[in-house]
């Protein structure tokens, strides 16, 4: 007599479960064709690719950075605290590799461009979200977003062909203040303009997410439109607005071409925006443009500077993400 293999329902379920657990990520199960599973794995691989990109960035930047710091000519402490950045000198030593002038230049441009873009961007956002008619909004918003689509090299050109001569005419000819051709202010102005759309569009999204009922409640209490906008809508959307600010500043810090073209390549510890400075990004461009061989000290220095830049912008992006998640006011 043939032996009948008895399988309880429970066993079948258990078997399926174990199979699912094995590949919990893809929802694989029996009854599906192999093709289905191959596709699921392939699609999963595509999305994991983005994680590999991040890993690639970290490995690339930090492995070369470690090589850089293991050279006798440099050390980490002088790199972080030194105030002299002159890596192109003939016999560079630790005193030539202080990154602070580059950070100072970067932060100065980020700060001034922020001072321009944050109020203007926030004002535009309030206008578009609270004041503009639907018709005006449909014209103004895309027009503002064109600013974000213009290549950064074009902004660099605009800085040296229009903004710098304008500054020179107003400040130098008018007030007698010396303005060098490459200066941080001109770069800051164009970077500021460049990040206006970013501030405006993220803040506006946050403000439009504030429910109508909140505004109506305030109006019912007798508030004017100005009061509703500044005392109800802006505070309610504050997490989104701050996130927009942080992202915009982080974008200004990472901005490369406009700054390289307009701000020059003179690393110095200055607070005068009318002098030429050098940012972290423009140092990287300067060295790459000059074709430093891969094993040379400058070829490695760009990775150390790049890693510094990456860490700063990465932290800012994380903070903005946390602000957005943690402090968001949730309405129904």
């Amino acid at each position: 007599m043939q032996e009948v293999k008895r399988v309880s329902v429970r066993e079948i379920v258990a078997e399926r479960k174990s199979k699912k657990k094995l590949f919990g990520l893809f929802k694989l199960s029996r009854g599906k064709s192999v093709w289905e599973n191959i596709i699921a794995v392939g699609l999963f691989a595509c999305s994991v690719f983005s994680v590999l990109v991040t890993l690639g960035i970290i490995i690339t930047l930090f492995s070369e950075t470690i090589n850089f710091f293991s050279r006798p000519e440099v050390n980490l402490w002088d790199f972080l605290t030194g105030t002299n950045w002159s890596p192109l000198s003939s016999s560079p030593g630790p005193e030539n590799f202080g990154v602070r002038p580059l950070i100072r230049g970067t932060l100065m441009i980020a700060f001034i461009s922020g001072a321009i873009a944050l109020p203007i961007g926030l004002g535009s956002a309030i206008y578009l979200s609270e004041y503009a008619s639907e018709k005006a909004r449909k014209v103004l918003k895309p027009a503002l977003e064109v600013l974000a689509g213009i290549p950064t090299v074009v902004y660099g050109y605009f800085a040296i062909s229009f903004i710098t001569p304008l500054l020179q005419r107003v400040l130098e000819d008018g007030l007698g203040i010396n303005v060098s051709f490459f200066n941080a202010l001109s770069a800051s102005v164009v970077v500021g303009v460049m990040i206006i759309p970013m501030v405006a569009s993220i803040s506006e999204d946050a403000m439009r997410a504030v429910p109508r009922s909140l505004r109506e409640g305030a109006y019912a209490l007798g508030a004017t439109k100005f009061e509703v906008a500044t005392k109800v809508v802006v505070p309610a959307a504050l997490s989104g607005i701050i996130a927009a600010f942080i992202l915009a500043i982080s974008r200004a810090i990472g901005e490369t071409m406009a700054v390289t073209i307009a701000a020059g390549a003179t690393p110095r510890m200055t607070l005068n925006p009318l002098e030429s400075v050098q940012t972290m990004t423009s140092f990287i461009v300067q060295v790459s443009f000059g074709d430093a061989p891969s094993g040379s000290i400058n070829g490695q220095a760009i990775y150390a500077v790049g890693a510094t830049l990456f860490v700063i912008t990465f932290l800012m992006n994380i903070i903005s993400d946390i602000v957005l998640r943690r402090f968001r006011e949730v309405y129904e």
Partner: protein, 334 residues
């Protein structure tokens, strides 16, 4: 709620002043909004005035020259076009694949969450960092194919020294399927760098297009017994494709304007020939423009650069027009 309307004795109605303040604020906000537009107009007018008369046939038919009157950006235009073609080719499958996984397949767990956060963060990484990534991973491949690397010694790989060196062979021995390792300063290396740069944008845009397809469509397909992939490939994707393509073109137009990553990766500023294969050196429009801006003569720095910018902006405008056309023509309203 964060709003506070004071109701104690200090509150003065003073409606006239408050209304006036409101009107003042209204004007102030309008000015804020117009600042951006005024600058945009100034930029366009400035470029048009400086470069308009330099838009001449030589700009499109000549290479860079020592004489501004003869200089053109032929290799830049061709380089940019091939580069975005390749970038589209590389980034489309990966970006759309990732978007399909995240929208249609991904379970709600820590890994999916992590991938999401990761993609958001990638979109905030400065473009210059991608240039350094591309230089190291694609351009030099960590120096693995240099004559003295452990890999070359271990496997006895026949590498050539020098700039255009490395390991050259035909894939699977098929002539024509040439491969060059490392990728060096080739179009392939540039396109791969650009792919990494625009990938987050492509993924985010494709996800939005896929999400816009209503769940009822999927449920109907499942109800008829379709598998997940059948549902996605026959129902969701055909409807989402216009949206995906729109996002793709917008992402590529960002790639067209990027300068820094390619500069870092080692794209040349002076390329007096057209690329014959994807392994050739290249230059792009923004790099050509940057090169002109850095030259001391005013004809290059101001006029020729402006002419180049006009061509670049024209390309961007046409790409955006195509994207808007696609969206309006094929968009399905539910």
């Amino acid at each position: 709620m964060t709003a506070s309307v004071e109701t104690n004795g200090d509150f003065k109605e003073n409606l006239g002043f408050r209304q006036k303040l409101g009107r003042f604020f209204n004007v102030l906000l309008l000015i804020c909004t117009l600042v951006g537009l005024v600058v945009l107009t100034a930029l366009l007018v400035d470029v048009a005035l400086e470069g308009g008369s330099w838009i001449r046939p030589q700009l499109f038919t000549n290479y860079h020259s020592r004489f501004p009157e003869k200089a053109g950006m032929k290799s830049g235009i061709v380089g940019s076009l091939i580069l975005i073609g390749l970038t589209g080719l590389f980034s489309f499958p990966i970006g759309v694949g990732a978007a399909i996984y995240l929208e249609e397949y991904a379970p709600k767990n820590w890994l999916t969450n992590f991938i999401n956060i990761n993609i958001n963060n990638l979109s905030g990484v400065p473009s210059i960092v991608y240039g350094m990534l591309g230089l190291t991973v694609f351009g030099r491949m960590f120096g693995l194919f240099e004559p003295d690397s452990w890999l070359v010694k271990a496997f006895n790989i026949p590498v050539a020294a020098g700039m255009q060196g490395g390991w050259q062979f035909d894939l699977f021995g098929i002539p024509g399927l040439a491969i060059q390792l490392p990728f060096g300063r080739s179009l392939v290396a540039g396109a791969m760098t650009m792919t990494l740069l625009i990938l987050p944008v492509v993924i985010i845009a494709s996800r939005e297009a896929i999400r816009a397809v209503p769940p009822s469509i999927r449920e109907a397909a499942y109800g008829l017994g379709a598998t997940r992939w059948q549902t996605v490939s026959t129902q969701v994707l055909p409807v989402a494709v216009p949206g995906i393509l729109t996002g793709m073109i917008l992402a590529l137009s960002r790639a067209v304007g990027e300068t820094a990553p390619l500069l870092i990766m080692g794209a040349f500023t002076y390329v007096p020939f057209l690329p014959e294969s994807v392994w050739d050196q290249f230059t792009t429009m923004p790099i050509q423009i940057y090169n002109w801006i850095t030259l001391p003569q005013e004809d290059y720095r101001i006029h020729l650069a402006a002419a180049g910018i006009i061509v670049l902006l024209a390309v961007l405008l046409s790409l955006n027009t195509i994207a808007v056309y696609l969206r309006n023509k094929f968009q399905v309203k539910w």
